[in-house]
Assembly symmetry: C2
Homo-oligomer: 589 residues x 2
Amino acid sequence: MPTRLSQLFVRTLRDDPSDAEVASHRLLVRAGYIRRQAPGVFAWLPLGLRVRRKIEEVIREEMAAIGAQEVLFPALLPREPYERTGRWTAYGDGIFRLQDRRGADYLLAPTHEEAFTLLVKDLYSSYKDLPLSIYQIQDKYRDEARPRAGLLRGREFSMKDAYSFDYTDAGLDASYQAQRDAYERIFTRLGMEYVIVAADNGLMGGARSEEFLHPTPIGEDTYVRSADGYAANVEAYRSASPEPRPIEGQPAALVFDSPGTPTIATLVALLEERHARAEEPWTAADTLKNVVLRLTHLSGETELVIVGLPGDREVDMKRAEVAFAPAAADAATDEDFAKHPGLVKGYIGPWSAEGPVLGEASSTGIRYLVDPRVVDGTAWVTGANEPEKHVLSLVAGRDFVADGIADIAEVREGDPAPDGSGPVELARGMEIGHVFQLGRYFAEILDLTVLDENGKRVTVTMGSYGIGVTRILAAIAEANHDERGLIWPREVAPFDVHVVATGKDPVVFEIAETLTSELEGQGVDVLLDDRPKVSPGVKFGDAELLGVPLVVIVGRTAAEGTVEFWDRRSGERRDLAIAEVPEAIRSAG
Amino acid sequence: MPTRLSQLFVRTLRDDPSDAEVASHRLLVRAGYIRRQAPGVFAWLPLGLRVRRKIEEVIREEMAAIGAQEVLFPALLPREPYERTGRWTAYGDGIFRLQDRRGADYLLAPTHEEAFTLLVKDLYSSYKDLPLSIYQIQDKYRDEARPRAGLLRGREFSMKDAYSFDYTDAGLDASYQAQRDAYERIFTRLGMEYVIVAADNGLMGGARSEEFLHPTPIGEDTYVRSADGYAANVEAYRSASPEPRPIEGQPAALVFDSPGTPTIATLVALLEERHARAEEPWTAADTLKNVVLRLTHLSGETELVIVGLPGDREVDMKRAEVAFAPAAADAATDEDFAKHPGLVKGYIGPWSAEGPVLGEASSTGIRYLVDPRVVDGTAWVTGANEPEKHVLSLVAGRDFVADGIADIAEVREGDPAPDGSGPVELARGMEIGHVFQLGRYFAEILDLTVLDENGKRVTVTMGSYGIGVTRILAAIAEANHDERGLIWPREVAPFDVHVVATGKDPVVFEIAETLTSELEGQGVDVLLDDRPKVSPGVKFGDAELLGVPLVVIVGRTAAEGTVEFWDRRSGERRDLAIAEVPEAIRSAG
């Protein structure tokens, strides 16, 4: 049966919803695909649900093609397994937690690694059972701080999450590659341009992780790429370390008064004024900025760290988050400073286990980490850990020794790609998929082992592979629209063709009905605009807004056997004999 | 591609899970269809998911056939609309509530009347838009006090809930009838025996409501039926009132000492001992029992009511719940009694606006309601509202006048059907569907109106129609199993046929593969047991447990062109030429 617009549960809106920031949100609401229920929570009208099901179908087919089996977990899960892996705490405010009538703790799962691991542990025990890839298409929940951009960052969203289980690293590599290949096929079928970028494993510490990003200026992710093929999200970018320089022959460190220079800019101005160099002017890059961060560990304990980085760079908190995971990294608070009088705001310098390297006040127990560019022999102007004092020619490896590296400075256009493929440029992308070698992180904590060929108990190694179904739907809308409405790719369009009957002549409507029946009989999904008292202008406007890629207009010339065939994407309209419509639809596919 | 048991993510268990009370739960877990995640919360393995999808498909087809359109709402919904309809409070402990990071209140929806009403209000405004029937298949949540019986009473469960919208009562009747007819077709296709019983509208107070019950001794619902076609659940049963009797000529009321008779049994014994009647012995039916209930109204206010009913009947609290809805009805507490010294436990008698009809202590503000059998002229032995005192010959309509009727006494075998179709008998059933004329309850509160033919604003009238998808799956399993395992009806079986290759001969396995390919090519869904080192006994046991209704055993005689064809339900096994297998499968359908 065709779907009749006279009956379809839909209303198109002329005006943009007031809370819509991006085109996909605007158009999906205006065209009657979705409706907001709460911030980041949407209801799906029939048109939206049709597109969603088509995307799911593409995913299911490609999962089946690599032998992944579908299962389905609940959204409501008990606290205990998430407590064991530390994620109950690590998610912070980012998840929904609730209690049942007995006071037992639950969460609305944001992702299901724990549950899948435990299920496989429940069922399987031998290497012969592996490899295994299982997945679900399921509604997930995240309590986003700023749900925005409609479906692109929602609080309830549908996701395909797959998990692979192997007992060898080579097995994991193969499972990972199979999912990665499947993702490439899925995005190609969905007509989604994508870039595969290296990602940081963060919390899990697995071996390999890549994101599928759809390049778009509205993307929330920044990634870097070189002309010669390097691509990584900024969190995964690794800054290069220069060669160490000779320490001998460098001038001795010199503490100097620097009144009113709590910022790099004021410090550089003072250097130029009072300590001008003959060879070249001072710049921020000559200074060493020391930033205090507070890490909150999974145990709840907090720790301060100081990170020294070239004064011309800012800390990128997203990179810091990943670098310090599973601890949460935040800027130190006034309270933190108050507890450590050695930390003189604006004049902080390098540190050691005993306290500040320079300066009189002492505060121990703070680790000192440096940017990869701070190699032995580099000389810096930096704080002297006393109010209104800085130091010149403080040399790394001579005057201070860091406790470790923290690669958390912002990445800039022109920075070198770590694989030597030249300078990088920055671009914006939207994450549409993520493939991830979890390794043995979850299996170790949750004790998922199998007996191998020799009867030896080995820990299983896992991968995790996610595609946001509702997010992709919005991303497709974002990439396929014009100012007049949506333009769906054929594979996910709610209907194959939109037949519009115009005018008031009953014969025209009869011809439209007959054509529709004929098309449906050939397996073509038709949306028939059979509304009797709606003007052609409104009907055409709705057709443009709804975005079915092919439109057939049945009008005055229909009685003479001719209709108009309208390619919504190209905008081309041409007259066509009715008998040629089925073939035109087929060849347009 | 066939599904191979060597690859399928499943493990069968020999032993029953310790928490399984009913066959469906036991077998669905043992056969690897589901796994428990928390009390009343389950994960679905591939076999379970296949059956679930087939049930959903039957429902979708029948919904489409009556023009109902599919939509999808979130589970996470804001408090506000539920607050307006009173259900935020009325659900008590029965729902999951939670807060987001900003402290806003949400619930996990147990049903979606509010959300559907508001969505239609958002989209529609004219009588021309109606009738409309929309539905979803969606996961719902209820915080059951005692989640039990596996999927039959879970806390997360899948439900098809449909809602109809009309602007006339006749329209609602037609929409209701269409859903009711669709339900009959659905249950027939699913092979589920059902009884349609009148139900009480309870909370909503709509016009008509019926439940589809599957008769089974493990059912949680009790219903009554007469030989001549009356059927109702006990909550909807209406007790008949006898004809009033003449008051004149009845002896005067007589208060008497009744020490140590706080129960009906002790009272009857005392009557026999001290006040024996010539004509017939005293029975509990001669006494009027007065039960104090505490009603909690939606506003949070509480109220005590006394209900007088024949002493041979108990209050049925389920009937009381429905009779007093939307107020919650509970037994009065010691505290309630303490506040009202006129309520003398064990000796309570009729009451009036001024307080107790007999007795000295006074407590006003308590309504006195009576069972429909307490008609004018009936004389009772009942409490005298004083310790150790009862009264004889207290005549309704003469000595006391009730404030109203409360039909909340238990229903018993042999009670008359209210439609005059004879005595009823009691039976147990499991609710598998519910059709419900909500009327204008939600539309009034949420202000869902349309303009009618005359441009007049009229309130929409609604129906609500639910089928528990996961519950039905369990109910089908419950009705289709034997001691060795599940026996699925063809329409919902995870596979059409289970091909078992036995022995070690590679030729046998090749024949099984060839047969499987051939069947799959004809559109038959095959589960192929290709496990190389598993004994025939284990394979047959698994086939019985998994419950695919047709099994083809490929064994030693396969090389000679013969296999065994096994009807799992009848147990019949017969030899068959391989070439005849496709036809045997078709005709077994």
